[in-house]
Amino acid sequence: MRPLTDDETRTMFEKLSKYIGENIKLLVDRPDGTYCFRLHNDRVYYISERILKLATNISRDKLVSVGTCFGKFTKTLKFRLHITALDFLAPYAKFKVWVKPGQEQSFLYGNHVLKSGLGRITENTNQYQGVVVYSMSDVPLGFGVAAKSTQECRRVDPMSIVVFHQADIGEFIRSEDTLT
C-alpha cells in the first residue's frame, strides 16, 4: 500500500471529475477527519486516516481490501472506475439520468440506456459527459457516459442509445471476483 504518485493522482482525478466535477475537493477535505487515497494491488482505495493507520499492521499480501475501492489502474496506466465508487459518486454527481422502471432491469444486466427507457435527464448535459444513472425512485444504479446531449435526446427515435453503460450495481453479483 502506498500513496499515489502525481501522475496517478492526476489520471484518477481527471476521471473522477468527469462525474462529480469540482465536487472532488469535497472528497479530499472532509469535515469528519482526513481521508486519503492509497494504492494497493493496482487498486485505489479511499480511506480515513484512522483506518489507514490500523491497516499498516497488515502485511501486503494478506490485505485484501481497506475502506472503499474506487477503481483500478489498468496495465496501460489508465484509470477505470469501479461500481464500488458509486457510493461516493452519487451524492456529488453533477449530471444525472433517471431510467424508467421497465428499463431498470435491462440496465442492471449491463445494457445501454435507450431513449425509450429514459425517464429524466439533467438539463444541458453535453455529449460524452459522465453521468450517474438513477432509478425513478432515486436509487443510484450505476454510471455511464451520455451518448447524446440533452437537446439531441429530445429528437432521437426511441430505440437509439442515450447513455453508454459503464458500470452498474448488477456487477456486485456478476463480477464479484474482480471487484477488488
Binding site: S48, N57, I58, K62, S65, G67, D87, V139, I173, E176
Partner: protein, 746 residues
C-alpha cells in the same frame, strides 16, 4: 396451409360415436349397489376381488356340486363324471366372479330376485315329481340326493344358498355368454394371470394383514420386536411408515417408562431400537444420533429431527446505512414480495414468506438496501452490541453478513476488521461490504490463530468459529452422514485455539468494551460449552449475560462433565423451539490482559528463569473459579500491537511478598506462546492457573538446573496454595508495585 380434406374421398374410421351402444339400467344399478357395498368394507378394488374370491372358494364349491346336475345330466353316471369337472367349474366361476367384479354384486341381487323364481321352480319340480314319477325317477333321485347332500353341507348357511339351482342356471348362462364374447375371454386370460399373481401375492396380503394387526396391537401396548425381526428388516425393504409408527410408540413408552414398559425389557433395549429407527427414518449416521440423544430428551429429539427436515424461513436484514425498514418493506411489497417483520427482538429483520421475484437479485438488493441473512446470524452481533467509534474484529467473517451488521450498528464509524482464513470466501465479503456501503472496514486474510501477532487491542471481537454445522442440517443435509467423532474433535480443537487467539486480541482496558462473543452454528457441547469453559480456565475472562432475552441456557453439566456455573449465561438456539438455525452464543468479558501462564512444563518460560533466588508464587487449583485465580496473577502484559511481552507479577508466600517479573524479551518472543499452545492441546485442563513464573532479575537461565527447579517449584506451590491474600490487599500491593517497578518495565 394444410390440404383440405376432400369430403368425397373421406373414409370413415371406426364405428363412430353414436354407434356405441348405450348402457342399460343395469350399469346404473351396479353403481347404486356398489356404493352400498363399499360403504361396508373399505378395501381396494384388488383386495375386494381377492376377498370375493376367498368367499367363493369357501362357499361356491358346494353350490356347484348341485348346480350342474339339472342341466348337464340326470343320471348317476353324469354325476360321476361331473365330479372331476367340478374343480374346473369352480375355477371358472371364480374367474367369472373376478371378471365382473362389479357385476357379481348385481348378479347376487338377481339371485335374490330370483329367489321367487327358484321357489317357483322348485315347486314346479315337485309338481313334476308328483306328476311324472316314473319319468323322472332318476331325476328325483338325483335331486333328492343332491339336495340332501347340499343341505347336509350347508346347514348353517342362509336360505339363498339353500336354493342353488337357479343360481347355477344363472352361472351357466353367464358362462355361455362368456364363451361367446371374445373380449371377455381375453379378460379371462388376464384374470387368470392375475390369479397366478394373486396366489403369489397372497402371502403378502397376509403379511399386510398381519402388520395391520400388529399396528392395532401397538396402539395398546408397544412391544419390542424380536431380534430376528430386526435382522430380517435389515435384509428386506423397510416400510418407513411402520418405522415412523414404531418411533412414535417407542417415544411414548420411553416417556412413561414405568407404566408402559414391557415386562423384562430394560430402557437400553428400547433406546437402541429407537436409535436404529431414527437413523433409518431420518438417515443420520449412528454417531450423530447418539450425540443428539445426549443433548435432547427423546421427545424433543424427534422435534429437532423433524425441524431439520424443513427449511427455515428466509430472512433479510435491512441495511440502515442506506434505508429504513419501513421503506424497504414497502419497496419489496411493490415488487410482489410477501413479508413480515421478523420479531420483537429485531428492528431490522424481515421474514420473506414468498416472492414473485428472486429475492437475491432485486434492484434493492443490488443497491445494498438489505442483506440475505439467517435470523440466527443477527444474534451474535446483537450480543456483541458494538458501540460507535470502536475497533472491532470479526475473526471469521465470510460472507460478511455479521461484519456488515456490526458496521451498520456503528454507523460507519470506528473500524471493523473482517478477517477470514479463506481468500476465496473473502471475495464475497468484499462484495457485500461495498454493496452495503460500509466504508470503515479492513478486510484481511489471516489464519485467526495468528491474529494477536498481527493486531491486538480491539474493543470487541466476534468469533464465529468454524464448526461441524450440526445446527444447520436443514441447510446442509450432508452433515447428517458426514460427521463423526474425529470431525467434532478437530473442530473443537481449532475452536479452542481460535478462542484463545480472540481473547488475546481483545483489549481488557478498553473504556467501552473488552468483550468477546463466541458463537457457532453447532449444537454440540464439545464445540460450545466445553470450548468456553476451556477459555475460562486459560484466560482472564468471565461470562456476562448476552443481552438476548430468549434462547435456552447453556449447559453447566453434561454427562460426566461439569462446566463453570456461569455458563448458564450463554444461550442456545434450536430449530424446533425458535425456528432459526441451531446456534450457540456466549459473551465473555476480558478483565485482565494478563495471560495466566502454566508453569509445570512450560519450557520456554523456564528458559528465562533465573537460577538464583527464585521465589515461587502461590497458585491455585481452584478450577471452579479460574478467573478469580487468574486475577491474583495480575500483571501487565502485552501491549496489543504485538510488542514483546513484559509481564510483572506479584507473588505471595507466607506473608512475605516477593516481587517478581518475567521478561519474555527472549531471543524469540513467539516461543512461549507456541509452547503454551502445545501444552494446552495436550493436557486439556486440570492444572490451569498455575502461578506465573516469578523472577527477580534479568538473569539468564541455566539449562542444567531447570528441571530441578521445576520440581522444587511444584512442591512449594502445593504447600503454598492454601494461603492466599484477599483481593483488596492484593490490589494495594499491585498498585505499590506499579509505582515502584512498573515504569521501568513497561
Amino acid at each position: 396451409m394444410g390440404r383440405k380434406l376432400d369430403p368425397t374421398t373421406y373414409v370413415k374410421r371406426g364405428p363412430g360415436r353414436k354407434s356405441r351402444k348405450q348402457k342399460g339400467a343395469e350399469t346404473e344399478l351396479t353403481k347404486f349397489i356398489t356404493e352400498e357395498e363399499t360403504a361396508q368394507k373399505r378395501l381396494s378394488s384388488r383386495s375386494r376381488k381377492r376377498a370375493g374370491k376367498r368367499a367363493q372358494v369357501t362357499k361356491k364349491p358346494k353350490v356347484t356340486a348341485v348346480k350342474e346336475e339339472p342341466n348337464k345330466g340326470f343320471t348317476d353316471e353324469n354325476s360321476e363324471w361331473l365330479k372331476p369337472a367340478k374343480r374346473k367349474r369352480e375355477a371358472d366361476h371364480i374367474d367369472d366372479d373376478d371378471d365382473d367384479d362389479s357385476d357379481s354384486q348385481w348378479e347376487q341381487e338377481e339371485d335374490e330376485e330370483g329367489e321367487g323364481q327358484k321357489k317357483k321352480g322348485k315347486r314346479q319340480l315337485i309338481e313334476n315329481d308328483d306328476d311324472d314319477d316314473d319319468d323322472d325317477d332318476d331325476l328325483v333321485d338325483d335331486y333328492g340326493a343332491s339336495e340332501d347332500s347340499g343341505e347336509g353341507e350347508k346347514e348353517g348357511e342362509s336360505d339363498e344358498e339353500l336354493l342353488p339351482i337357479e343360481k347355477a342356471a344363472k352361472k351357466q348362462k353367464k358362462l355361455q355368454e362368456v364363451m361367446d364374447q371374445e373380449t371377455d375371454d381375453d379378460d379371462e386370460e388376464e384374470e387368470e394371470e392375475e390369479d397366478k399373481d394373486g396366489e403369489k401375492s397372497g402371502d403378502e396380503d397376509m403379511d399386510e394383514e398381519d402388520t395391520v394387526q400388529v399396528n392395532i396391537d401397538e396402539m395398546d401396548t408397544f412391544k419390542l420386536p424380536k431380534a430376528e425381526d430386526i435382522a430380517k428388516e435389515g435384509v428386506m425393504l423397510v416400510d418407513l411408515q411402520t418405522i415412523h409408527q414404531r418411533i412414535k410408540d417407542n417415544v411414548d413408552v420411553l416417556s412413561h417408562f414405568s407404566t408402559k414398559r414391557e415386562g423384562g425389557k430394560d430402557r437400553a433395549e428400547y433406546l437402541s431400537l429407537l436409535k436404529k429407527d431414527l437413523s433409518t427414518y431420518y438417515s443420520y449416521n449412528n454417531f450423530l444420533i447418539d450425540k443428539l440423544l445426549e443433548i435432547f430428551p427423546v421427545s424433543e429429539l424427534i422435534d429437532f429431527l423433524e425441524a431439520n427436515e424443513i427449511q427455515r424461513p428466509v430472512t433479510i436484514r435491512t441495511n440502515t446505512l442506506k434505508t429504513r425498514r419501513r421503506d424497504l418493506a414497502q419497496a419489496l411489497i411493490n415488487r410482489g414480495v410477501n413479508l413480515d417483520p421478523l420479531g420483537k427482538w429485531s428492528k431490522v429483520g424481515l421474514v420473506i414468506f414468498d416472492s414473485s421475484v428472486p429475492i437475491g437479485a432485486t434492484p434493492e438488493y443490488l443497491a445494498g438496501h438489505y442483506m440475505l441473512q439467517g435470523a440466527s446470524s443477527f444474534l451474535p452481533v446483537m450480543a456483541l452490541s458494538p458501540q460507535e467509534g470502536e475497533t472491532i474484529l470479526d475473526m471469521s467473517s465470510a460472507p460478511g453478513g455479521k461484519a456488515t451488521y456490526i458496521a451498520q450498528l456503528m454507523r460507519n464509524t470506528g473500524v471493523v476488521v473482517a478477517n477470514d482464513a479463506s481468500a476465496d470466501r473473502l471475495k464475497s465479503v468484499v462484495g457485500n461490504i461495498h454493496r452495503l456501503g460500509v466504508t470503515n472496514s479492513v478486510v484481511c486474510n489471516y489464519d485467526g490463530r495468528q491474529f494477536p501477532k498481527v493486531m491486538g487491542g480491539f474493543d470487541r471481537v466476534l468469533l464465529d468459529a468454524p464448526c461441524s454445522g450440526t445446527g444447520v442440517i436443514s441447510k446442509d443435509p450432508a452433515v447428517k452422514t458426514s460427521k463423526d467423532e474425529s470431525d467434532i474433535q478437530r473442530s473443537a480443537h481449532l475452536q479452542k485455539e481460535l478462542i484463545l487467539a480472540a481473547i488475546d486480541s481483545v483489549n481488557a482496558e478498553s473504556p467501552s468494551g473488552g468483550y468477546l462473543v463466541y458463537c457457532t452454528c453447532s449444537i454440540m457441547v464439545e464445540e460450545n460449552e466445553w470450548v468456553v469453559d476451556y477459555a475460562l480456565k486459560k484466560r482472564n475472562v468471565k461470562l456476562v449475560p448476552t443481552g438476548l432475552d430468549f434462547g435456552k441456557e447453556g449447559f453447566t453439566r453434561f454427562k460426566e462433565r461439569r462446566f463453570h456455573p456461569s455458563l448458564k449465561l450463554s444461550r442456545r438456539f434450536y430449530p424446533h423451539s425458535h425456528n432459526m438455525d441451531g446456534f450457540f452464543v456466549a459473551k465473555l468479558k476480558k478483565f485482565s490482559n494478563t495471560v495466566p501462564t502454566t508453569t509445570v512444563d512450560n519450557g520456554a518460560v523456564e528458559e528465562t528463569e533465573p537460577s538464583g533466588d527464585v521465589k515461587v508464587q502461590s497458585d491455585s487449583f481452584d478450577e471452579e473459579k479460574p478467573f478469580k485465580a487468574g486475577s491474583k496473577n495480575k500483571s501487565k502484559k502485552q501491549k496489543p500491537d504485538g510488542k514483546p511481552v513484559v509481564s510483572q507479577a506479584t507473588a505471595n508466600g507466607k506473608s512475605a511478598k516477593s516481587i517478581a517479573k518475567k521478561t519474555q524479551k527472549n531471543e524469540n518472543p513467539t516461543v512461549p506462546k507456541k509452547a503454551k499452545m502445545d501444552n494446552e492441546t495436550e493436557k486439556v485442563d486440570k492444572e490451569i492457573n498455575k502461578s506465573n513464573i516469578v523472577k527477580t532479575d534479568k538473569e539468564t537461565s541455566k539449562e542444567g538446573s531447570r528441571f530441578q527447579k521445576k520440581g522444587d517449584k511444584q512442591r512449594k506451590s502445593h504447600i503454598q496454595s492454601k494461603k492466599r491474600i484477599g483481593k483488596n490487599k492484593f490490589n494495594k500491593l499491585k498498585k505499590l508495585l506499579k509505582n515502584e517497578f512498573g515504569n521501568e518495565h513497561l
